[in-house]
C-alpha cells in the first residue's frame, strides 16, 4: 500500500513538472497537427515473450488521427497497460545519469488489403493488428481514414520487408468524450508478443516529420541478462548535428525497488524477481533516424543487422552482413566498456 502510494505521488509529481507526451509509432494525421514531445517505450523480454508497453498521447489534432506501430511478431494480447510502468521507469533514470556514448556507427544501408489479425479497443483507442506488405497496410490505413505522409510508403516498406505485422491505433474522439478522456491524456497499451528475439522500432518515430525535426525518445529494456544491442546511430551525424543519436545511458541490474514497483502495476505480474535494465536515450534528427534497435537476449552476443534495419533479408549479402555484424559487436563492446569505466570513476 505504502509503495503504491509512493509510486503514485512520484508519478504525479513528474507529470506536473515535465508534462511529457508519450506515444510510439509513426503519427499519421492531416496537416501535421500532432505535437509529440517525446516517446517512451518499454520492451521487456522473458520466457520467449516480449512485453511491449508504450503510451499514446495525441495532442492538438482535432480528434482525427492515429498511429502505426511495426511489430516483430503477432501479438496474442493487446490490453491497457498499468498506470505507472512507463512513468516509474522514467523516474528511475531521473535525473539523467552519467552520459554514455553513441551506441554504434554505421552507414546503413491498390487495392490489396492486409489480413486483420486482431481488433480491440483500449480506452479511446481503436486497435487493429494487421498482417501484410507496405502496399496492403498503406491501403488499409488510407481506407480507414489515416492520412499518410509522403515518406509513409518507404517507411512501411522498410518494416514490411522484415516483419509484416503492424498495429494501427486510431483515436476515437467520440468515445474519448464519453469516457471523459481529454486529448493529451496518455493511454498506455501493453502488447504481449511471443517472439524469438525482441526489437524496438525506432525509424517509425520519424514518420511524417521534416528532415531537420528532432526526434526524442526514451527506450527501456528489461531482460533476464544483459542484452547485446545493435543500432545504426552514426558518429558523423552526431558530430554534424550536435545531437548524439542513440545513447546507451544506463545498463545495470534493475533495482529491487523498481522491480517491486513494476510488478505491482496492472498486468505486470509476469515479471520475475530480478531483471536487467537497459536505458537508451534517442536524440536525433528525423533525417538521420534510419534504423531500429536489435536486441539479442540469447547470450550469444549477436544482435541481428536485419532487426536493426541495417540490411534486408533478401538484399544483404553474407559478406556485408558478416562485416556489419562484427563491427556492431565491437562497437557494443566499446560502448559497454566505456560505460563500465565511467561507472568505475563515478564510484
Amino acid at each position: 500500500m505504502f509503495r503504491k502510494s509512493l509510486v503514485s505521488v512520484g508519478v504525479m509529481a513528474f507529470l506536473l513538472v515535465a508534462a511529457p507526451a508519450w506515444a510510439c509509432g509513426g503519427l499519421v494525421a492531416p496537416n501535421g497537427t500532432i505535437n509529440l514531445v517525446r516517446t517512451t517505450t518499454l520492451a521487456a523480454y522473458h520466457n520467449g515473450v516480449e512485453h511491449y508497453v508504450t503510451g499514446f498521447n495525441f495532442v492538438g489534432a482535432g480528434g482525427k488521427f492515429g498511429s502505426i506501430v511495426p511489430l516483430p511478431d503477432v501479438p496474442t494480447k493487446v490490453v491497457r497497460a498499468g498506470d505507472w510502468t512507463l512513468q516509474r521507469l522514467v523516474l528511475e533514470v531521473q535525473p539523467p545519469v552519467a552520459e554514455g556514448r553513441a551506441l554504434l556507427a554505421f552507414d546503413s544501408v491498390a487495392a490489396q488489403m492486409p489480413e486483420v489479425l486482431l481488433e480491440t479497443t483500449v480506452d479511446s483507442l481503436d486497435i487493429t493488428v494487421l498482417k501484410g506488405g507496405a502496399t496492403e497496410v498503406g491501403n488499409w490505413a488510407r481506407e480507414n481514414g489515416f492520412s499518410l505522409s509522403p515518406d509513409a510508403p518507404e517507411v512501411l516498406d522498410f518494416y514490411a520487408r522484415r516483419s509484416p505485422i503492424f498495429m494501427a491505433a486510431k483515436f476515437n474522439a467520440k468515445r474519448a468524450a464519453r469516457q471523459g478522456i481529454d486529448q493529451g491524456t496518455s493511454i498506455p497499451v501493453h502488447l504481449t508478443i511471443p517472439t524469438d528475439n525482441p526489437w524496438v522500432p525506432l525509424r517509425i518515430l520519424a514518420l511524417g516529420r521534416k528532415p531537420a525535426e528532432a526526434v526524442e525518445a526514451d527506450v527501456f529494456l528489461l531482460t533476464n541478462d544483459r542484452p547485446a544491442l545493435l543500432a545504426g546511430a552514426s558518429h558523423f551525424d552526431a558530430l554534424e548535428t550536435g545531437r548524439p543519436g542513440l545513447v546507451l545511458t544506463q545498463s545495470a541490474p534493475a533495482s529491487d525497488g523498481l522491480m517491486a514497483d513494476l510488478r505491482s502495476d496492472k498486468g505486470m505480474g509476469w515479471m520475475p524477481k530480478e531483471m536487467y535494465l537497459t536505458y537508451l536515450k534517442l536524440d536525433t534528427l528525423a533525417d538521420d533516424l534510419t534504423y531500429d534497435l536489435a536486441i539479442d537476449v540469447t547470450g550469444q552476443g549477436a544482435p541481428s543487422p536485419v532487426d536493426a534495419g541495417l540490411t534486408f533479408p533478401t538484399l544483404g549479402s553474407p559478406e556485408r552482413t558478416w562485416v556489419m555484424w562484427v563491427a556492431g559487436a565491437v562497437m557494443v563492446a566499446a560502448g559497454a566498456a566505456a560505460l563500465s569505466r565511467r561507472r568505475t570513476r563515478l564510484a
Binding site: 491498390a110 498503406g138 499518410l148 509522403p150 510508403p153 518507404e154
Partner: protein, 134 residues
Amino acid sequence: MRKVLAAGAAVLALASAVACSPGPGSHERTVEITINHSRFDPSELSFPAGTMVRFVIRNTDPIDHEFILGNQEVQDRHESGTEAHHGSIPGEVSVPAGEIATTTYRFGEDGKLLFGCHLPGHWDYGMRGLVVVA
C-alpha cells in the same frame, strides 16, 4: 449553299488537324513514369522543342499523388493552391493510389520545366523532376 458549308467545314477540319498535329521536325512520344516511395522515376527528362509527349504515370504507392508539369510559376501556384483534383489541363493530372493516369503536353520553346506533386509535404519531400527542352 450546302456545298459551301461543307467546303467550309472541310477547310476548318483541315486547319484544326494541322494545328493539332506535330509541325515540321516535331515528334510524338509516350513516356512512362513510375511513382514509387513518393519519387518519380525517371526524374530527369529531355525532349526536343515541339515534341508532343503523352505521359503515362503509374503510381505504385498506397497513397495518392499528382503530376504537375510547368514552369516555376506553375509549381508555386499549385504548392499554395487548393485544387483537389487535376485532369483537365494538359500536363496536370491526379494519380490515385495504385492507379495509372495519363496526360499529354506539347513542349514549345527551349528551356527548363519542372514536374512534381503538390499534395501536402510531397514537394518538400523531394517529389519533383526536371524536363530540359532543347
